[in-house]
């Protein structure tokens, strides 16, 4: 065992009734290219120890980046004193759902270690993408980025768990921006502000951004001259990245049980999916089944054990359109007399674990994007551009990079600045098509924000295209 963890364990005061310790080390490499120039190469190392504990029935947490023995012992004692301070306002003792203690080591499987691909090779590839983007007349700004990480997390708790997990992943993307007068439009590939998964460098080779640069450049330029998004009630097809972000905001966040219980009320807000609606509320059409799945290989929300030592799971949130489940922790699950479904994670060693989305996925049904386009009179939207939603997760505004009008089953016209807005469940209830397995794509978001101080978490969303009928497009 790492000496720092042993010192931490040995320093726990006697009045602490439970403690967990996380020793986290993250290596990260970031490369950014813009307009044919390397704008930044950054190598980061981040390491520290965090301890969360219960004393007098309340939580305390302390963390230090210092590897010094005395600093670690002091930090552990500080966590206990923080817990004692918390107890001054408690209304009842914290109670935790049971779990099995586990010992083991786990590691991301990958083909190509991204840290073993030379900087020169990564830079050369990005510069070739950049050149391709700029080869399109009308592209004003070309950008590309690659980020890779290796995170090693050693978790111990006083219930006997001892878990080491190592995650390796990449996040990358290319973007073409066209500017003319007061008009600025961009297209990104992959169209989810890039793509990130817990996989090796082979992910970039498979997704092959170079082969998409010319197309996104041309689309960005076409958007400049395109007709503005009309305001009308129409049928809409959303591609997987837009479905992914819609799931994120309308299903992922409101099913976080800590939000439902009010513990995020000051910042992110609460949720309209309150406990009395569980197993009763029709959230979506019966085609819609959405699961939280931390077990699928490669997802940014995949792991083996969460930051409470609870095993990764797959659980249903929306089943055949009915709201049936929450994302839970040991403390919140206990309130509902359930076991935790294992969603507690912290961004870094110095953050308290919170309930976070894992991979929140829409289960596939049948059909392809081409098939549903062929059967639609309306619009197709692609590329996540922006999203805004209220503190109950009801009124949303989702902006796409690009839209196409579909006439008699064919894409006939590009439209710019497409937005949809309204009440989330009204849109989900109007879903009459969910694409099949062959059109299902898993995307990753590297920076979902929650908590105070804000923690940016890696989460995933898998989805096929969907169609929404008779919904409002444009403002």
């Amino acid at each position: 065992m790492d000496e720092r963890l042993q010192i931490g364990l040995d320093s726990i005061p006697k009045d602490v009734t439970y403690a967990d310790l996380r020793l986290v080390e993250i290596d990260k490499e970031e490369i950014r290219i813009k307009n044919g120039k390397v704008e930044g190469i950054n190598r980061n190392y981040d390491s520290g120890l965090g301890i969360r504990c219960l004393a007098r029935g309340a939580w305390g947490f302390a963390a230090t980046s210092s590897p010094d023995r005395d600093a670690i012992a002091t930090t552990v004692r500080t966590a206990a004193s923080v817990a004692r301070a918390s107890s001054r306002t408690k209304t009842s003792d914290v109670r935790l759902a049971e779990k099995e203690p586990i010992k083991g080591s786990f590691q991301t499987e990958y083909e190509k270690d991204p840290f073993k691909i030379s900087l020169e090779e990564k830079i050369d590839y990005l510069l070739r993408c950049d050149e391709k983007l700029r080869s399109v007349k009308g592209v004003s700004i070309s950008e590309g980025w690659v980020e890779c990480w290796r995170e090693r997390k050693h978790y111990l708790d006083t219930e006997g768990s001892d878990i080491v997990q190592e995650f390796v992943g990449v996040w990358f993307g290319v973007r073409a921006t066209a500017i003319d007068g007061n008009e600025l439009q961009f297209r990104t590939y992959p169209p989810f502000h890039g793509q990130g998964l817990n996989r090796g460098y082979e992910l970039i080779e498979e997704m092959d951004p170079l082969s998409h640069c010319e197309r996104i450049g041309e689309e960005a330029v076409a958007l400049i001259r395109a007709r503005p998004c009309p305001a009308e009630v129409t049928d809409l097809i959303l591609t997987p990245p837009l479905v992914g972000i819609f799931i994120h905001e309308s299903v992922g966040h409101p099913t976080e049980l800590d939000r439902v219980f009010g513990t995020e009320a000051n910042f992110a807000g609460t949720s309209h999916l309150t406990v009395e609606k569980l197993n009763k509320f029709r959230f979506a059409s019966e085609l819609v089944t959405i699961v939280a799945d931390a077990t699928i290989p490669g997802g940014l929300g995949s792991f083996w054990f969460d930051d409470e030592g609870v095993k990764a799971q797959r659980s249903e949130l929306i089943k055949d359109g009915i709201f049936v489940g929450y994302l839970t922790s040991r403390e919140t699950a206990k309130v509902l007399n359930q076991a935790s479904n294992g969603t507690m994670r912290a961004q870094r060693w110095c953050h308290i674990p919170l309930i976070r989305m894992t991979n929140i996925n829409l289960e596939p049904k049948e059909g392809t994007l081409d098939q549903i386009i062929g059967d639609t009179q309306g619009y197709l939207l692609d590329g996540f551009k922006s999203v805004s939603i209220d503190d109950q997760r009801l009124n949303f505004n989702l902006g796409a990079e690009i839209g196409w009008r579909i006439d008699h089953g064919r894409k006939v016209e590009v439209i710019k600045n497409p937005v949809i807005f309204g009440i989330t469940y009204d849109f989900w209830r109007n879903c009459d098509f969910v694409g099949g397995k062959e059109s299902w794509v898993l995307y990753g978001i590297p920076s979902c924000g929650k908590g105070e101080p804000v923690q940016l978490m890696k989460v995933g969303h898998g989805a096929p295209p969907i169609r929404l009928v008779k919904v409002r497009l444009g403002v």
Partner: protein, 417 residues
């Protein structure tokens, strides 16, 4: 040519977070971060280390793998870095405040809310930051500041909100702030629905803060301006706002913060808009040197892809009292704060977002019923020109000093369910 900068920051803070009228997340953390930026023949490398000593040679080694960046001219030299005239304040009591001190203060807030039949959620943070900067051209800086920050949401059948920040815990009048949020929550019950459309609105300072943070991003980056992607590109020296509007960036004595940016360049007063005319933009050294300018002391990270930003925005106060503003509105809205503001179209400054924790109908110059949380969509450029009055008092926030604003046209597009 070889140049380097070494930046070191130690942050020690305690954050006492509460919800459902009890402390539920309570923490102390201590973190030291070192960064080195190394330039070898216009090849740039950066390394960062937390949790171990930084190896200065790593950034140099990273740089050696990079092609030259012809846009790089130089790190700031002592002449460009200037003389630091603002020296941050430091309160030992605030920097060293214990978990017990914070818990006791939070307990008093919780109890005050309970007496009004309201639940409470929020946080109280105290701590300190110390920074050291050295570059190979002779720029040397060091400084430290303490900080205290408080936020509170009061929750009954309606909600209210308040927040405050300072370098000293003693600056935060927690009782007064709590009573402010209690009063809003008590008024904010049984909200009514309104029709979408254009309204005259009075924005309270926290709402103004939200919009001007986004304006900083969309408009005041010199890099974005020069790349023609700022909503102000091509309009320097032109009228971009109501002639009533004068705003600037400068260090604020009551706020935590250093007298220099992350490159060691002294912070100074930078007038952004004066009497409605766009006067200056914010630069870090990299984006400034590309266009033969000097840094304005607005660097917030090494090699920022966004260039420099204002660290804060301060308004020149107007002459109208908030009550007089409300009194001048025949049919409109008072908006306390915004939530989840996002950009729909950056170049023409189209923003959307929601109102939160207190939106009230104004009828015949008087506040009447609360209304449900509303969605808005505006062009920030139209917004700037439709500012009708500027309040005569300023509220200190974490991002500057903000007045009430009376805005003649503000587009509401929907509301929460």
């Amino acid at each position: 040519m070889e140049q380097y900068e070494h930046y070191k920051e130690r942050r020690r803070e305690g954050i006492t977070r509460f919800a459902n009228s009890m402390i539920h997340q309570n923490m102390v953390r201590d973190e030291t971060e070192s960064k080195v930026l190394y330039v070898v023949d216009k090849k740039i490398g950066i390394s960062t280390a937390v949790g171990r000593e930084i190896d200065p040679s790593l950034a140099r080694e990273v740089a050696s793998h990079s092609p030259e960046n012809p846009d790089f001219v130089s790190l700031p030299d002592p002449d460009e870095a200037g003389t630091v005239t603002y020296h941050p304040k430091y309160s030992d009591v605030t920097a060293e405040a214990s978990p017990g001190t914070r818990a006791e203060l939070v307990r008093e807030v919780i109890e005050l809310c309970k007496e009004s039949g309201l639940a409470s959620a929020g946080y109280l943070t105290t701590g300190m930051v110390e920074v050291e900067i050295e570059n190979s051209l002779g720029v040397n800086r060091s400084g430290r500041t303490s900080f205290a920050e408080f936020a509170l949401t009061t929750i009954g059948s309606g909600s209210g909100y308040t927040t405050a920040i300072g370098y000293d815990l003693a600056q935060l009048n927690l009782k007064e702030l709590t009573l402010e949020a209690i009063e809003t929550a008590k008024r904010n019950v049984d909200p009514e629905e309104i029709e979408p459309g254009e309204y005259r609105v009075v924005l309270e300072p926290l709402a103004v803060d939200s919009l001007f943070r986004w304006l900083s991003y969309l408009g005041f980056s010199g890099l974005y301006y020069d790349e023609n992607r700022s909503c102000f590109s091509g309009r320097l020296g032109q009228e971009v706002a109501s002639p009533l509007l004068t705003i600037y960036d400068e260090p604020i004595a009551e706020l935590p913060g250093m007298g220099f940016d992350v490159e060691g360049v002294a912070r100074r007063k930078l007038i952004l808009i004066e009497n409605g005319v766009l006067k200056n933009l914010a630069y870090d050294s990299y984006s400034a040197h590309k266009v033969n300018k000097k840094s304005t002391g607005n660097a917030f990270m090494f090699q920022s892809p966004y260039g420099g930003f204002p660290f804060s925005i301060s308004f020149l106060p107007g002459t109208t009292t908030p009550d007089a503003m409300i009194g001048s509105v025949e049919d409109g809205l008072l908006i306390k704060r915004f939530w989840y503001v996002r950009v729909i179209s950056p170049k023409d400054g189209i923003l959307t977002g929601m109102t939160r924790d207190g939106t009230f109908r104004i009828k015949e110059g008087r506040l009447t019923k609360p209304v449900k949380n509303l969605r808005f969509q505006i062009s920030i450029l139209d917004f700037l020109k439709s500012i009708g009055e500027i309040g005569n008092t300023l509220r200190l926030t974490g991002y500057g000093r903000y007045p009430h604003l009376l805005v003649d046209r503000f587009r509401i597009t929907g509301m929460t369910g």
